[in-house]
């Protein structure tokens, strides 16, 4: 695989603008194996202390000597997006749906550490609603892998040549667990989160920008929802694995009913089945319509021996 070393972490705004220009191109089908064999890399990357403080204030969490997992995701995300915005990337960037994240945060990362960021795409595969792809992102300190994430994206309505779309599996009825929290998200939630991590995807920002992209109302960043969930569920001082699956988007302004569960009770989909001791599940849903927004889990790596390789 060819590695392109970027001279700096790209600005997301420029990438979105570039993607918007390419949006005139309508993609109906893609060929398997059409993913570019390219890996992007940015070196000597430092965390902005100011952004980190802003991020923790926004979530109402304390600033610690460890970088939150979602903040690391936000740090490496522009590198991954650079791949998606390339002309040779077969799927259209704008309008892609974020399905899930699967992260191994191998050890606590200090804000002062110098990072290397890497990303590549892989595994173009069929989905009942289109074609999905994995974006693999990595954060390294020196040669040590400290954070690795797989984000699954769906290009709706794009067919994968040679594959027929599977039938939609019947959803099990969603039975919400006992509430442990309620998030009241005001209309500025998307903009505020965007300001911290630079993800100015128009679907999150305002009513006008969201409507331009065909949404009724702006929706919350998936990673904001993950960040809120992890604030309650993630351990401190150890590595951990976590994942989140997204279902119905959270419209802004809006309210999310939230529950922490001791074992994963995800009924969004087949999902995860970490029944590890110390693992925490979480679910967010729409209390009125009784529809899930997301579900996920967190497993401390000190407890999850199977994932523990290379840590400590």
């Amino acid at each position: 695989m060819q590695t392109v070393v970027l001279d700096k972490v790209p600005a997301l705004g420029a990438l979105y603008a570039q993607a918007a220009l390419g949006a005139t191109r309508r993609v109906r089908r893609v060929a398997p194996g059409s993913l570019p064999d390219v890996s992007a890399e940015a070196r000597e990357v430092r965390i902005s202390e100011e952004s980190l403080i802003q991020y923790q204030r926004l979530l109402g969490d304390a600033v610690r000597e460890e970088v939150p997992s979602v903040f690391l995701h936000g740090t490496v995300f522009p590198v991954a997006l650079w791949l998606l915005a390339r002309k040779d990337f077969p799927l259209p960037l704008l309008g892609m749906v974020h399905l899930s994240n699967h992260v191994r945060h191998l050890r606590p990362v200090r804000p002062s550490e110098t990072l290397t960021l890497r990303a590549h795409a892989r595994d173009l595969r069929v989905h009942r609603a289109g074609t999905q792809v994995d974006l693999i992102s990595q954060v390294l300190v020196g040669e040590e892998l400290v954070w690795e994430g797989r984000s699954v994206y769906l290009a709706k309505g794009v067919s994968l040549e040679g594959s027929s779309r599977p039938e939609a599996e019947p959803h099990p009825d969603f039975v919400p667990p006992a509430t442990t929290g309620r998030w009241r998200l005001d209309a500025t939630t998307g903009r505020r989160f965007a300001e911290v991590l630079g993800d100015f995807n128009p679907i999150h920002l305002s009513l006008v920008s969201a409507k331009l992209l065909g949404l009724k109302r702006p929706i919350a960043h998936g990673m904001y929802l993950a960040a809120r969930a992890l604030k309650s569920a993630a351990p401190h001082g150890v590595g951990y694995a976590w994942e989140i699956e997204f279902a119905v988007p959270v419209q802004l302004p809006g309210s999310v009913e939230f529950a922490l569960t001791s074992a994963t009770q995800s009924s969004v989909g087949p999902g995860t089945s970490d029944e590890e001791p110390g693992s925490v599940g979480f679910v967010g849903w729409d209390a009125r319509k009784v529809r899930p927004h997301f579900a996920g889990s967190v497993v401390p790596l000190a407890l999850a021996a199977t994932v523990g390789a290379g840590t400590d």
């Binding site: 009241r184 939230f258 922490l260 001791s262 925490v280």
Partner: protein, 432 residues
């Protein structure tokens, strides 16, 4: 060990004073925490002739507090009839504030550190601090730090219209975003507390409080304030039938299972209270009454963030620990003062103590604590009727219970107060 404490000299409750509790944005509009606490303290000083005296320490606090009130209690003392040489300190432990001040002062008296102390608390929702938004605050702080006009202007240039909206303190739990009522609604449902049981408790609270006023019980416990001589939330004619007509206010997501109404939940209230404690020597030397001994107190907290336990259930954990230390059972009391944050709180706590599974799994007990004689519960009314100005409730309860015990002439009373943040505080008083 508890033994050590009980070998110390007793800390005696001499008496108390509070101003009537007023429903928020009503009788006490314009009164600050300092105003109200000073009134409560001056009333106490007047009742016991403490003018110009140097008290060992005065401790109080408020849950909703202005930043200018960083030294609230000391400012109150300086504005009171007490000697300006009286030291004072603030405590802030949500609704446990009042009882914590009294407990900590009792410990100081028991250990011989001080001879006398005044504990209490105050809260106003009508004069709650409204803060500027975090963004505006950051801009203002940055502008304050700026060394040049250019830097200052640069700081202000970051300001956006939305930053100018003020932010008021909520009663939501910061970590869950749920209001206290929503939390209790979950607990109420978890313990299957019926609407009827909650309304019965609420009606009894009003009727008991009104009866206590009628027999002049509060004549030496309350000093009127701003034209109010009685708690104005009290409805002497409250009945279960009337309460049953109210619509649910909390737990609406529970649908037709929602049972918590404005009638069986405490309203937001303004008020202040103060309790005078002393050693036996202090009381005798000043010819002051000795109503009860402050025997012991205990704190507890629960993990409500994960949903493992209800927000307001901490007292259920604190009580058995204190009972064990004192070698008592739950039935060894003549009065139970369980703060009625919500009727559901009281009933859930009582039900938990009766539940073998809870007592075994959560409290680690071989047998349930058991049930209490309900005729001994909140016999002169509690927060549902009187109201609950957060930090003032502890002082209200201690003074009330001490007087009840003194009137009876013997026996013990148990106090239980739940608090935000999953905390709880409980205490034992003994008649004298």
């Amino acid at each position: 060990m508890g033994q050590n404490l009980s070998q110390n000299r007793p800390a005696v409750v001499i008496g108390g004073n509070r101003i009537p509790f007023a429903r928020a944005n009503g009788a006490y509009v314009g009164a600050s925490n300092q105003d109200m606490m000073t009134a409560a303290l001056d009333g106490l000083v007047a009742r016991f002739g403490l003018q110009g005296q140097r008290i060992g320490a005065v401790a109080s606090g408020a849950v909703l507090k202005h930043s200018r009130d960083f030294n609230l209690t000391r400012e109150v003392v300086l504005g009171s009839a007490l000697s300006p040489q009286t030291p004072a300190y603030d405590v802030q432990m949500a609704c446990a504030t009042g009882l914590e001040t009294i407990g900590s002062l009792a410990d100081k008296i028991k250990s011989g550190q001080i001879e006398s102390g005044i504990g209490g608390g105050v809260d106003t929702v009508s004069d709650a601090p409204i803060a500027v938004s975090d963004d505006l605050r950051n801009v203002l702080l940055a502008a304050g730090r700026a060394r040049s006009l250019k830097d200052r202007l640069a700081a202000f240039a970051k300001l956006r219209p939305r930053d100018l909206a003020p932010s008021a303190p909520g009663t939501d739990e910061p970590r869950t975003g749920l209001s206290m009522g929503e939390h209790q609604a979950l607990t109420t449902q978890r313990w299957e507390i019926t609407r009827e049981a909650q309304d019965e408790l609420a009606a009894a609270s009003h009727q008991n409080l009104a009866a206590a006023y009628d027999r002049h019980f509060f004549d030496d416990l309350i000093t009127p304030y701003r034209g109010l001589a009685k708690d104005n939330n009290m409805r002497a004619d409250s009945t279960v039938a009337k309460l049953s007509k109210l619509k649910p206010a909390f737990g609406k997501s529970l649908g037709d299972q929602a049972s918590m109404t404005a009638g069986n939940s405490t309203p937001l209230t303004d008020g202040a209270s103060a309790v005078l404690l002393g050693s036996e020597e202090f009381a005798a030397e000043h010819d002051l009454p000795m109503l009860a001994n402050f025997v012991d107190y205990e704190l507890a907290a629960v993990d409500f963030v994960s949903g493992e336990e209800g927000l307001l259930m901490a007292p259920a954990y604190a009580v058995p620990r204190m009972l064990a230390r004192q070698g008592l059972t739950l039935q060894d009391f003549d009065f139970y003062e369980i703060h009625e944050a919500f009727a559901g709180t009281v009933l859930s706590t009582l039900k938990a103590w009766e539940d073998p599974e809870f007592c075994k799994d959560k409290l680690g007990l071989d047998a349930p604590l058991g049930s209490i004689d309900r005729s001994k519960l909140n016999v002169n009314g509690s927060s549902l009727a009187a109201g609950h100005p957060f930090a003032a409730t502890g002082g209200r309860i201690v003074a009330t219970l001490a007087k009840m015990l003194h009137e009876k002439g013997s026996g013990r009373g148990l106090i239980s107060v739940c608090a935000a943040g999953g905390q709880g505080i409980v205490a034992i008083l003994e008649a004298r």
